[in-house]
């Protein structure tokens, strides 16, 4: 049964130095509050897993807490590149980051295999690209048709963290809007934390809503506005201006560091 904790207690209890950690959310519902708390608690040497690193991993990489990054698209959606991600790969600043990259289809299937507790997933993909030789995939023959397919290894993070609109007091979670790979990430992980906009007495089931039962979640923490500058459909809006601001501001190492000191390190989390 999910424990209802504060974000800081949940991060302190679930995330350790050296862990593989997946903070998911496909453009929507990105768990910024939890990621910022990981930075504040000074976690180190993490293997960060995420389909679209987005600004959150740009911040975590820029603060030097990642030793390895597993991903499929490292851009600022609709704006351009991620400057801290680029600086780490191009110039090892503030530290070298090992990378393992995939296609979206590959990452999605890796999470699905992880959720199913299968060792791998089978798909059509990667063939003919230079990615094939640079990442962990292997050909596999279909025993029924003889077709050569591609196998991708399951992803089973030590910890997965996702954000959702709401949970009830038992820790059952409901999210709606773009569902990304949140459910898969939670089910694939050893431990999981779901931060939510609000805790309610009873979940009001929504069309297209995804419910994750409390008994497969380790901890739930209330974090109102916890996906900003991403968004939680129906509750907060995506701060597109911030994504544009980030593109300009984060080009410079000093400006970035100053911004993080002021806006993340120097700020206590604003929730219970």
């Amino acid at each position: 049964m999910a424990e209802i904790l504060s974000v800081s207690d949940a991060v302190a209890g679930l995330v350790s130095d050296g862990d593989s950690v997946a903070l998911e959310g496909f453009t929507h519902l990105i768990p910024f509050a939890a990621g910022h708390e990981i930075i504040r608690q000074g976690r180190q040497d993490l293997e960060l897993i995420r389909m679209t690193p987005d600004l959150l991993y740009d911040q975590m990489i820029g603060m030097g807490i990642a030793r390895r990054l597993v991903f499929s698209y490292g851009g600022n959606p609709g704006v351009g590149g991620l400057h801290r991600f680029r600086d780490a790969i191009e110039h090892d600043w503030p530290r070298a980051v090992e990378i393992e990259e995939h296609s979206h289809a590959g990452m999605a299937n890796r999470y699905a295999a992880g959720a199913a507790h299968m060792p791998c997933a089978v798909m059509r993909g990667y063939v003919g690209t230079d990615l094939e030789a640079r990442t962990t995939v292997a050909p596999i023959t279909c025993p029924f048709t003889g077709e050569t397919l591609t196998a991708v290894p399951a992803l089973n993070p030590d910890v997965s963290i996702v954000h959702a609109q709401e949970a009830d007091r038992e820790g059952n979670v409901q999210l709606w809007g773009i569902p990304g790979v949140q459910k898969e990430a939670v089910l694939a992980s050893q431990r999981s934390l779901v931060t939510v906009e609000r805790i309610v007495d009873e979940l009001e089931l929504r069309p297209g809503g995804v419910v994750i039962p409390a008994w497969v979640i380790t901890a739930v923490a209330e974090a109102p506005g916890g996906s900003r500058p991403s968004y939680s459909l129906g509750i907060t809006d995506r701060d597109n201006d911030f994504y544009k601001f980030w593109d300009k501001m984060s080009r410079d190492r000093d400006q970035f560091t100053e911004w993080m000191n002021e806006n993340v390190l120097g700020r206590e989390i604003s929730n219970r």
Binding site: F26, T27, H28, M51, T52, F71, S72, Y73, G74, G75, P77, G78, V79, G81, L82, F85, R86, I89, E90, E101, H102, S103, H104, A105, A108, N109, Y111, A112, M123, R124, G125, Y126, V127, G128, T129, D130, L131, R134, E147, T148, G177, I178, P179, G180, V181, K183, E184, G208, V210, Y231, L233, D237, R238, N240, Y243
Partner: protein, 252 residues
């Protein structure tokens, strides 16, 4: 005053030409930026029934504004169906349910293979680009691919630094050998003109040139010896309807 009184920019022409390609299309897969603008414009002017599919899992989105990201709230709120990422790739893209996909790239070669991974060496890149995203499997499986790219020598290169996405591989038969289901790139729409694979060789050939652009200019901005079609046509200028719809859309 007629809308055409204001000069038409190369970017506007590129978007309008891309939108025209969707006249008879049922489903289109789009990323953000110009492809998204073109697809919304196509729904406004040419094809109101066009079904827009975004990578974020929104199928049948009907955005009123051009979204900044593929995951903007308006896409989910207006969609016929919203699905998870594994479902998007395994049930919708992989089986070839989408007719046309728009893709962009930092580099493109004469067989319309695309690079969006690195400039320079992989281990020590000069420029680290975002990476593959959905492109490899989208290009393998969607009915056809239309590439939208700025026409410049650093984009249209003799040899890619990294093959992120296969277009026509190394020529005829490549896609069949790799087991791809879709037809691959059928057009590359740039701010100077339109390139299409030459039947028989699959090599990109200039088939259409935008008004006021010289063939020499297109050659200069292409990093290989560019073939030009014998029956090269000039792009039909944007109509008042297309232009005013596009400008109205971008002002929303």
């Amino acid at each position: 005053m007629s809308v055409t009184a204001r000069e038409v920019t190369a970017g506007e022409t590129q978007t309008i030409v891309a939108a025209r390609r969707l006249r008879d299309t049922k489903t289109v897969f789009i990323g953000v930026g110009r492809p998204s603008t073109a697809a919304i414009l196509a729904r406004m002017v040419h094809n109101p029934e066009l079904i827009l599919v975004y990578e974020s899992g929104t199928i049948g989105a009907k955005p009123f504004h051009v979204p900044l990201s593929i995951g903007d709230g308006e896409l989910a709120q207006t969609a016929d169906s919203v699905v998870s990422v594994p479902e998007m790739f395994n049930y919708w893209i992989g089986p070839g349910r989408i007719d046309v996909a728009f893709l962009g790239a930092a580099q493109i070669d004469r067989y319309a293979n695309l690079n969006s991974t690195v400039i320079g060496e992989y281990e020590h890149p000069k420029t680290r680009l975002p990476g593959a995203g959905g492109a490899p499997e989208i290009a393998a499986s969607c009915g056809e691919v239309i590439v939208i790219a700025p026409h410049a020598k650093r984009t249209f290169v003799e040899k890619l630094d990294f093959i992120t996405t296969v277009g026509h591989g190394d020529g005829p038969g490549s896609r069949e050998r790799l087991g791809f289901r879709g037809r691959g790139p059928t057009a590359v729409i740039t701010d100077l003109g339109v390139l299409e694979p030459e039947p028989g060789t699959c090599e990109l050939m200039l088939t259409e040139i935008h008004t006021g652009v010289e063939v020499e200019k297109v050659r200069e901005e292409t990093g290989w010896e560019l073939k030009v079609a014998d029956d090269l046509t000039t792009t039909e200028p944007p109509t008042d309807e297309e232009l005013s719809a596009l400008r109205e859309l971008l002002d929303r």
